[in-house]
Amino acid sequence: MATREEVVTGLAEILEEVAGVNPDDVSEEKSFTEDLDVDSLSMVEVVVAAEEKFGAKIPDDEVQNLKTVGDAVSFIVANS
């Protein structure tokens, strides 16, 4: 099972690929939309890529609760 740090690193890789986010800017307190400027369609891409990478199923109605990188890390760690 992945550690929180490993999931942050993995998400940073996905965010760089999908939305051009600098990996150095990715940390748990950052908001996807407000701090990292990820638009709603790109967020869908991030979710699908994260599911593949971590083997976690992230239901659509859960995505709206994932405001920050930390929210996503907690969900992935608990569900992968």
């Binding site: 999908v18 939305a19 051009g20 369609l41 790109s42 869908v44 891409e45 699908v48």
Partner: protein, 408 residues
């Protein structure tokens, strides 16, 4: 009611001859061909193995992250629009965005996206289909992205009429300004469908040249050896502006867009009327709309795509509507056929011919068809003072568009 004068104050293009207008125009005047062999593996199975591919890849201009949310047809439209916008000096003009319109069309639209995402659907399942698919493949996508880029609020439109699309967009832009709906319109066409499916479709119609061993000689309008068009890709964008608006802000004026004529053949879905009657009527309408005497139209940038029937039908139309005096050219001999972008790119060539007093050449016209009874600037650019010039575009479906430009 008098019609307000409309002028062209900016031009932009990315084409098989160059990544901007200046390099494209230089290559045209030098008579260079933009056609080359397709080296992609998928070309092996096709009967057509040549195309006129972009001289400058969009990835050299637009960053990777933005590009992955754009169909190639949208990317090239944005590149051409950026050049035209800067060229017109509109960046700092304090334009009222409620008076800014966009008319940008495509003949085929986001086919590359549609087909690539279908591959993903088949191979990996529905959940892997990109959430960017719809804005990438929708036919209004290029117009919408351009409108978004410049904050246009007077209306964003995406006419489509196959290979007449780019010219039709310019005609509708003229109409938007004349009718008082906008002061400035970003108008033009875009196309990027160099992909095995569209090529196979056109090839199955026997519409394309199969001169695979001599790519640079494959597009040869009016030549006896012509055997179909060569597919090209790219975009052309014009900034149309109400003349008094342009004068008030001290804009540089390339030419007047004096008039437009649009008709439909009502004859056949793909074949032009053999006597070009619908095309002749479009030309006559453009002359009347512009209030220009046909004797003053000394140059025509013809549609002439290098197909056996179409090239000659257009000659019939030109003879009946204008007479025998204009000097013709077919720049598709160099650029290939940019389908929905062709009319916009060729409008730019027509405008520059007026500005520089020179007709760009028609290359590969080695053995003229017996039915070519008019003067063509074959092989070499020809100096010519041009008061008024015509640009013709025709599209599958029987669409005919004639645009008339005059010296400012």
């Amino acid at each position: 009611m008098t019609k307000p004068d409309v002028v062209v104050t900016g031009i932009g293009a990315t084409t098989p001859l160059g990544g901007d207008v200046a390099s494209t125009w230089d290559a045209m005047l030098a008579g260079r061909s933009g056609v080359s062999k397709l080296t992609q593996e998928w070309a092996d199975q096709l009967t057509v193995k040549i195309a006129a591919q972009l001289a400058v890849e969009p990835s050299e201009v637009i960053d990777r992250v933005r590009l992955r949310k754009l169909d190639r047809s949208e990317a090239v439209a944005l590149i051409a629009a950026a050049e035209a916008w800067a060229d017109a000096g509109l960046a700092d003009a304090g334009l009222d965005k409620e008076r800014l319109g966009v008319v940008v069309g495509s003949g085929i639209g986001g086919a590359q996206t549609l087909l690539a995402q279908d591959d993903i659907l088949e191979a990996s399942g529905a959940r892997r289909v990109s959430p960017h698919t719809v804005p990438m493949l929708m036919p209004n996508g290029p117009a919408a992205f351009v409108g978004l880029e410049y904050g246009a609020q007077a209306g964003v439109h995406a006419p489509t009429s196959a290979c007449a699309t780019g010219a039709e967009a310019v005609a509708w832009g003229l109409d938007m300004i004349r009718s008082g709906r906008a002061d400035v319109v970003i108008a033009g066409g875009t196309e990027a469908v160099i992909h095995p499916l569209p090529i196979a479709g056109f090839a199955s119609m026997r519409a394309m040249s199969t001169r695979n061993d001599e790519p640079e000689k494959a597009s040869r309008p009016w030549d006896k050896g012509r055997d179909g068009f060569v597919l090209g890709e790219g975009a052309g964008i014009l900034i149309l502006e109400r003349a008094d608006h342009a004068v008030a802000r001290g804009a540089r004026i390339y030419a007047r867009l004096a008039g437009a004529g649009m008709t439909s053949d009502g004859y056949d879905i793909v074949q032009p009327h053999p006597e070009g009657t619908g095309a002749a009527k479009a030309i006559t309408k453009a002359l009347r709309d512009a209030g220009v005497d046909k004797a003053d139209v000394v140059h025509v940038n013809a549609h002439a795509t290098s197909t056996p029937v179409g090239d000659i039908a257009e000659i019939a139309a030109l003879r009946s509507a204008l007479g025998e005096h204009p000097v013709l050219t077919a720049t598709k001999s160099m650029t290939g056929h940019l389908l929905g972008a062709a009319g916009a790119l060729e409008s730019i060539a027509t405008i520059l011919a007026i500005r520089d007093s020179v007709v760009p050449p028609t290359i590969n016209l080695d053995d003229p068809d017996d039915a070519l009874t008019m003067d063509v600037a074959a092989h070499k650019a020809r100096p010519l003072q041009i008061a008024a010039a015509l640009n013709n575009s025709f599209g599958f479906g029987g669409h005919n568009v004639a645009l008339l430009f005059t010296r400012p």
